[in-house]
Amino acid sequence: MTAKILVVDDEPSVRALVRDILELDDYEVFEAKDGDEALERFRADHYDTVILDIMMPGISGLDVLREIRAGTDHPEGYTGSTSDTPVILLTAASDDDTTWEGWTSGASVFIAKPFDPSNLLEWLDRTVNRRLEQHFGPAEDEDLEGSGDLSAEFRGLSE
């Protein structure tokens, strides 16, 4: 089954670029041009990973992220497991404050624009396949990976 990726960016050329990159690796790409559309799509469907811009008209990417993580007052399909959907922040705003805010809001990965497509693909592979934790920490984490309690680990990371 192909993984479904939601790409949120107000800049059409960036959406097109991400689509071109991802489609070469057989991801199924869905686009949203702003925060409202992103949340609308997110609530309506399941995505394996969300690639999210921060500086957008209307609701900012960080607000979208917090909304996703909060997972409240939404119809079914947007509860429980949907709120820990991996979110890759893909943004030009890569200053320390924004990065920190991104992490504390529950971002899985932070990629600065302009970005290397291979990088994006590698991170995407990890988030989609829930192998994110492999990237962190010393060897003992490898053992934890073996325990299979991936979602608990992920939750811990994303808080």
């Binding site: 050329s13 960036v14 670029l17 500086m55 624009k113 302009p114 497509p117 291979s118």
Partner: protein, 770 residues
């Protein structure tokens, strides 16, 4: 004994017109009285008199007596005026008893005049006394003749006549003296007469006694006649010692006043004003000079207050000449017009000296002037030397204190000026938290007037506790930047420093009980705003620059890694995107460069304008052509005319306005581009109307600011650099035009490009022909 009344000591109040009037009236009245009396007495021979001989010497002796009587006077001070007690009346009475009444009347007056001139008395004094004596003498002689018309030996009647005459003489003199003292010194006449009447009476009786005794002795035992002078001498000595005692008392009072004057901290000028009069009085000097503190003070006229004088007038060697002991000033060093003087040193500081000079400008009056053994000049009396020395020392002390006080006052004034004009707000809080000082800048920054801040009722916008909490530190200076919301609702960014000091002014490390807090507040609102604008701009620019770079870099890397996997059409599309984005990036960089050029007002970096004649329609054509996607939405109203402008720049300006209209208005809404002439056909305006959200009034003026954008950069809806309108307006102005903005919130904005119409129709036609 007679009472003489040389009234005004002319030193003190020169030039009083009232005094002149009195003198003139008295003189005229006196001379008239003498003339009339002389006329009456010479026409009627009513009584025999004692001497009718032909020899001249008794008359000369009588004249001499009159003159000498004037010389031996006893000075009596009345305020600033001096009265002189003399034996004139006694001489006059002797004359009445011996000579014909006219001789007795005129000779003493002549004697008085000779003595007055010889002694160098003041003219006014002589004239007043002459008039006063003349009136009194006429009254005396007339009274005696009327009471005792028969003449002959002494009898009760003749003694009564003498007493009546003497009393008339004394009374008239007393009244006239009261009059002139009142005119000159403001002495109440009633008071003066109450004080004087008894003495006048006693003197009248005494004079009669002396005269009668002398004449009686001469008649009976001529050998003993000179001894008749003894009671006069005794009386003179008694009066003299009494007068001297009075003078000493008076002088003591002046010394006390002088002491008070020099015991308080004074500036040199103040000191001089307070001490000058007393100094002159105590030491009987005509003039004083004070050389201290870089100023020299001297009165222009004797009796005037001391005033600063050009230092050149006083020889500055006097300062080094003066010693702690009063020294007589050598002639070479004397101040101008001085006849003699002494100098005393004033020790003002360890290395600073001044001098006090006392001296005389006039020749001495009285015997000192005529007696061969008198010095003829003013001298400091030996008894006065220690007094002067002591006074000078305490004067120097007061001047030193005065200098310190002046320095302190000046220092305080400077500090106050610094506080008042400092751009940083300064406030001082007392130990109880009350505001002790609130500088004008503080009032401006905090929007709390000083009066309100000091009043306990209005809590200053910066409460000490709040600040102390915010500005907590362990060092002497505690600094913090605070955002303060003022009473008027506006917010200011303030850089606040607090220093705690104790009451000696030493800095304390921290707030302790009883400490004063000195607050310095710098308003950094504008700086922070500029910083925010700058960081907003940098955030914007970095976002704007990254936006096209992202697809360029991403696609380039994609091509290099996945070339094989990509179909040809895809590769072409990707390469086109890269090219487009590179163009966009290039335009952005051009914009930035242009912006920095138009803002660089000096040097060759300033952008160049190449004006030519451009038809307005052509300009609009070119500008609109740049926006193919807006073509369907643009409605044009053209006006045929030729503009004088740089074609490319003008197109850039108008294009920017159209681009903005497209960006900021509802999709599909109409954009109207209206060309119309204005200002007497010398300008044409091309107005671009949109139907966007409009711009709030307070932001409308700022849309032309560099890097200013209506939206927050984090949520902006447009991809502008924040430079477009700024650049466009700068360009328009460089072409002698302008860009104007109007907006109605909710219904849209109008941005108008105004450009000058070409003034050469030929070239305009030429352009059109092309």
């Amino acid at each position: 004994m007679a009472e003489a009344t040389p009234a005004t000591d002319e030193q003190e109040h020169p030039g009083k017109s009232g005094v002149f009037t009195v003198v003139a009236v008295v003189l005229v009245a006196g001379l008239l009285a003498v003339a009339l009396t002389g006329l009456v007495l010479s026409s009627v021979t009513i009584m025999p008199y004692y001497y009718e001989g032909d020899a001249l010497w008794p008359y000369l002796l009588f004249l001499l007596f009159a003159a000498v009587a004037e010389v031996f006077y006893v000075p009596l001070r009345h305020g600033d005026a001096q009265e002189q007690l003399t034996f004139f009346e006694a001489v006059l009475l002797i004359g009445v008893l011996i000579f014909a009444p006219v001789i007795a009347l005129v000779l003493p007056l002549v004697g008085f005049l000779v003595a007055g001139l010889a002694l160098g008395l003041n003219t006014r004094k002589i004239l007043f006394n002459l008039g006063s004596y003349a009136l009194g003498s006429a009254a005396l002689v007339l009274a005696y003749v009327v009471v005792f018309p028969d003449g002959g030996e002494f009898s009760v009647i003749s003694v009564i006549g003498l007493l009546v005459g003497g009393m008339l003489f004394s009374g008239i003199n007393m009244l006239l003296l009261a009059w002139i003292l009142n005119a000159d010194q403001g002495v109440p006449p009633g008071e003066f007469i109450r004080e004087q009447w008894l003495m006048s009476l006693v003197m009248a009786v005494g004079s009669v006694g002396i005269a009668a005794t002398a004449v009686a002795l001469a008649q009976t035992t001529p050998v003993l006649t000179p001894f008749a002078l003894l009671p006069a001498a005794a009386l003179w000595l008694a009066y003299n010692s009494s007068a001297q005692q009075n003078a000493a008392l008076e002088r003591n009072r002046w010394i006390i006043r002088l002491n008070t004057a020099v015991s308080q901290p004074r500036s040199t000028t103040h000191m001089a004003e307070n001490a000058a009069h007393a100094l002159r009085r105590v030491f009987e000097a005509d003039d004083i000079c004070l050389m201290a503190d870089g100023v020299t003070l001297r009165a222009d006229e004797p009796g005037e207050q001391l005033e600063p004088h050009p230092p050149a007038e006083l020889d500055h060697r006097l300062v080094s000449f003066a010693t702690a002991q009063p020294r007589a000033i050598p002639t070479a060093l004397l101040p101008p017009n001085w006849r003699s003087g002494v100098a005393v040193e004033l020790v003002l500081a360890d290395d600073e000296r001044g001098a006090l000079l006392l001296g005389a400008t006039r020749r001495p009056a009285g015997l000192d002037r005529v007696l061969p053994w008198a010095s003829g000049t003013w001298q400091l009396r030996d008894v006065d030397r220690p007094v002067l020395q002591a006074l000078t020392a305490s004067m120097a002390g007061a001047l030193r204190a005065g200098q310190h006080l002046t320095a302190l006052t000046e220092e305080t004034a400077k500090l106050t000026a610094v506080v008042d004009h400092a751009t940083n707000g300064i406030a001082v809080y007392g130990a109880d938290g009350s505001v002790l000082m609130w500088s004008p800048a503080m009032a401006t920054i905090s929007a709390v007037p000083a009066a309100d801040a000091r009043a306990a009722t209005a809590a200053p916008v910066l409460s000490l506790q709040e600040l102390a909490d915010s500005v907590r530190g362990t060092r002497g200076v505690n600094n913090a930047e605070l955002a303060v919301v003022r009473d008027d609702g506006t917010s200011r960014d303030l850089n606040v420093s607090v220093v705690w000091i104790d009451d000696t002014g030493s800095s304390l490390g921290h707030n302790t009980a009883g400490a004063l807090a000195i607050l310095t507040v710098q308003d950094v609102t504008r700086e922070r705003q500029a910083e925010r604008a700058k960081s907003d701009f940098i955030a914007t620019i970095s976002h704007e620059l990254r936006t096209p770079i992202t697809p360029i870099k991403g696609y380039a890397q994609l091509l290099s890694t996945r070339w094989e996997q990509m179909p040809l059409a895809k590769r072409e599309k990707v390469l086109r995107t890269i090219s487009d984005k590179a163009d966009h990036l290039s335009r952005l960089v051009d914009d930035l460069l242009l912006a920095s050029n138009v803002s660089g007002s000096q040097g060759e970096a300033k952008l160049t304008i190449e004006p030519s004649d451009v038809p307005a329609t052509e300009l609009t054509d070119l500008a609109v052509a740049g926006f193919p996607d807006l073509r369907g939405r643009i409605e044009r109203t053209d006006h045929d005319c030729v503009l004088r402008c740089d074609r490319d720049r003008a197109v850039q300006c108008l294009g920017n306005l159209i681009s903005n209209a497209g960006k900021y208005s509802e999709p599909g809404s109409v954009i109207r581009v209206v060309t119309h002439p204005c200002e007497g056909e010398s300008y044409v305006e091309i107005a671009v109307h949109d139907h966007g959200r409009g711009i709030p009034g307070d932001e409308l003026g700022r849309v032309f600011d560099r890097f200013y954008r209506v939206e927050d950069p984090m949520t902006m809806t447009t991809g502008g650099s924040g430079l477009g309108l700024y650049i466009s307006r700068e360009l328009a102005r460089a072409m002698n035009g302008d860009i104007l903005a109007e907006s109605t919130l909710g219904s849209g904005s109008v941005f108008t490009l105004r450009l000058p119409i070409s003034r050469s129709p030929a070239s305009g036609a030429d352009t059109e022909a092309r």
